[in-house]
Amino acid sequence: MSTVSTRGPRAVPPSRAGGPPPRRRTHQTPRRRTQEDSARRLGNALVAPVLLVLLAITAYPLVNNLWNSFHQVILTKPGETPWVGIDNYTRLLGDPDFTDSLTRTLVYTVISVVLQIGLGVVVALVLHHEFRGRGFVRAAVLIPWAVPTVVSALLWRQMFDPRNGFVNYVLGALNLPGSDITWLAGEWTAWVAIFVADSWKTVPFVAILVLAGLQVIPSEIYEAGTIDGANRWQSFWRLTVPLLKPALLTALVFRVLQSFLIFDVIFAMTVGGPGDTTETVTYLNWEAFLVRSDFGAGGATSITIVVISLALAGLATLAIRVRKEDTL
């Protein structure tokens, strides 16, 4: 994962050219070995709090869902929880509603992530450039975040109301197509509306991450590049992008997972409608828990979602890692 080699001086392996086989450990400088051990111990101690907190919060829910997924747990029948093996899973994976929603969710994830990362990088580049009023633009970009996601989704539903919102009104005023479409009532137009509402908050998120990555790149790199005759475009692709890899990777992984797990926006704007065309996997998860009160199915859905998320995170990591390592 790191694109910078930061390892300190390595311990030199003992020479075996001649002489009796060295006793374990004594041939190495004792201080160095222990130093590395202590460093590792310190490192573990530093990492421990984060892991402890996260595991403390998620361990029981994870175990609980896992247990539920192998039993029949229906809320209205408390007390009867027979073992059902992988029944919940086979039923889930064989359900066409699930495969449909999985396909939908993945398609939306891919398209929206690509677009949002693209837009986010553009915004980050703009925010990184020095110009008058940059502070104001930075604050303006982050304003959408001041509105909690749940509220934002509700407000966007109103914004897409042909009668009481601005989308149709503005499109009509600018004579652009789409002013007479009820966006939330169309099979794919609903997804566009969801994408817009989602991007309003997630593009700034990507931008901030990428901006942080841009700021670690020292300006000497660019000076060297210009001296060598590289133009703006070349210096962007050959110098900036490789050094942005960690930030891009972070943005990509988190956006992919957040997109896959999208819920609040969909629930507030379309509730999975029209029909079932915007039902995502998290919607099915919600349905299992809160509509069918079937915690066994809900547990199976949750675990399946986690497994798929793992795979997606892995894919995302491969996507950025595959090129050669760059060091600063």
Binding site: R31, L42, L75, P78, R157, A185, V271, G273, G275, V291
Partner: protein, 414 residues
Amino acid sequence: MRHNISRSARRITLFTAATTAVLLTAACSGPTDEADDGVTTIVLADAGLGTEADATAKAVEAFESANPDIDVKIESLSTDGTQYMQQLRQRLVAGSTTPDVFKAADIEIASLAESGWLYDLDSLGADPDSFVPGAVKAGQPDGTTVALPWFANVEGVFYRTDLVPEFPATPADLVAAAKAGAAADPAIEYGLAFEGAKYEGAVTVFNLVATGMGGGLDLDNIASDENVAALEFLHDAIYTEGISPEAVNQWHEGEVQEAFSSGQTVFSTNWPFVFGASADGPVDGKIGFAPFPGGGGTIGSEMLGINAKSEQAEAAWKLVQYLTSVEAQLARAEATGNPPSLLAAYNDELFEIAPYFAQVAAVAENATSRPSTPKYTEISAELQTALSSVFANLAEPRAALEEAAEKISEINGS
């Protein structure tokens, strides 16, 4: 060096441990203690905000002054219906003894009862016959009264009395009247506004229209010809007759009321709160409320139940009795427009407070409630999906209803 590193390690671990300890001790400031000076405290779970919460608060105040030894704590779980039920269920599943009294929609009672979370009200002395019959049925899913109606909301058709001289007798007449009204008044933009979003409100509208046209929510017969005709009526209103906008696909009661209260629609399907919400507006005084042609109406009562695990059942029962007394019912009706559930409350005093309650009573007479089954939420979800696809023109009414019927019989079979 080594000395420094292990010392740093120790310092960090100590720091983290200390912080965690502080946080945990702070966390152990538990809930407030029960007062033990002869005062019983009961918890009432409610959702409303605005006028409904105010009315509830006032009723509780009046109850407390009449019963000085009972203290009522109102817990507001959420204004959103789904979240309210989720919160309530979470507490009941956890075996909590509070809330002692809670409200729940009529469609939720059957499943709450099946889980054994409702107190037997007959044993406390309930008198179900004193309530509006259509409303109290939901509180008796298997004969025993486990919930009583707090107020009996009923959905009907609102119309502009100035644009519709005679209320239409058939659905076709309604379409014609809608077009005529729209032609007569330039401010009118829609003939019929209804709730078409993917939520429970769409099911109540469908029931309203279907029962008027001879159908209804008979779970064994969802795809009946009458139901298909009813759904076709709503679908055609949007796509053939053009009296309803496509926007209904995202409209809830609020949006429909806004359109009506602003004088932009001739007809609309909604609940009696529209009377109060339209007061002092452009349509004040021109509002009529009637069943859908053929006598269609939907009942949606809010019920009161007592937690089966409540430790203050008698005090809780006293609160329920108060809230369902004539005095409290009239006060609430005046403040919020919630129609009373107690038959005795439909008296002259009520009609003096708000004359429109006479029209509400007329709609309630023939209105039907939705099926009382523990699986209602699941069944309704299938209906909602079907209705939503038809309203968005993604499916044909008959095909959608048949698919829903299939899924519903699967649900009922399991």
